[in-house]
Symmetry: C2
Subunit: 146 residues, 2 copies
DNA sequence: AGCCGAATGCAAAAGCTTCTCATTTGTTGC
DNA sequence: GCAACAAATGAGAAGCTTTTGCATTCGGCT
């Protein structure tokens, strides 16, 4: 039974078998309050600094990786070097990214999901994951048309 | 009218506005003869060394990037750090990768392509590109089941 | 309060890719 | 063919993102 979570807390950290430390709580807090749910480790680091929390970048990377293993966070490899993270609220989705302004929108399409499964099966593969990202220009006047 | 090319040559390099140099010809040659068409810059470097061609890694990266701009080569960002390159024979396709042995298979599915276009349009995006990679375990006994 | 292992911060290191610059190589016009 | 010049190459340094080592600090438990 998959439930879409709205609120993460220290409970989730504890349930992942991790100590509930200040850095972890703060990182989870920032991820939760993000309007655009997608951030790089570096951006998260800066957001925390702005919020007055001095958490080392190494810790950010470590914690994000642990959160990922625990299923609290999802990591994406969009083009452009840096990994991007977002809270995993239990709703799988794919992304469409504007290559001009960087805006990220999410979508889910059962038809695509089904076809992927069929293709994998037909080739003898057992699907574990997939990454689908569409790149293009968004409807913003500044981005529309090259 | 899209034609699937079987053979690349110095002509293609020249048409891209590039000088027909020995390193570029050799790199194109290796890419062409690959059974599994997907290689990292590092692997390509080693393959050339094995073939007795001492071409600097920096040159490999430069040339691959130029070939990419010229449409001779496609670059993929599979998980695992390194970029992977393959000759662009004009036939767009996506990939399914074994997370155990690394095998890469290709597929093309018009239904998925169409749905992507529809989704992008519905969100006001003009599609420029997309990356779809399925990860799983291939049918090889060594890979099957975790 | 005090113990102990886990977590953190910092700096160093690693992994991949790009850049700098002196030297070499294609190409073009005699 | 050959000189002339711009373009390309090789080697190493540098750049970026991410990981790691280690001394110190912190969280959970008595
Ligand atoms: Mn998302
Ligand atoms: Mn391919
Ligand atoms: Zn945009
Ligand atoms: Zn396999």
């Amino acid at each position: 039974m998959k439930v879409k979570k709205d609120m993460m807390s220290g409970e989730d950290i504890r349930n992942a078998g991790l100590k509930v430390t200040l850095p972890r709580v703060k990182i989870l807090g920032v991820l939760e309050q993000l309007e655009h749910g997608h951030v790089s480790a570096e951006d998260l680091y800066k957001l925390l600094l702005d919020a007055g929390e001095e958490i080392g970048l190494a810790t950010i990377y470590r914690v994000l990786t642990q959160f990922e293993s625990a299923g609290l966070v999802t990591r994406h490899h969009f083009e452009g070097g840096q990994s991007v993270f977002e809270l995993d609220r239990g709703d799988h989705h794919d992304h469409i990214v504007c290559i001009r302004c960087g805006k990220v929108e999410e979508f889910f399409d059962q038809t695509i999901e089904d076809r992927q499964q069929e293709i994998a099966t037909s080739k003898g593969f057992a699907v574990e994951a997939h990454a689908l990202t569409i790149y293009g220009y968004c409807k913003d006047p500044k981005c529309k048309g090259s």
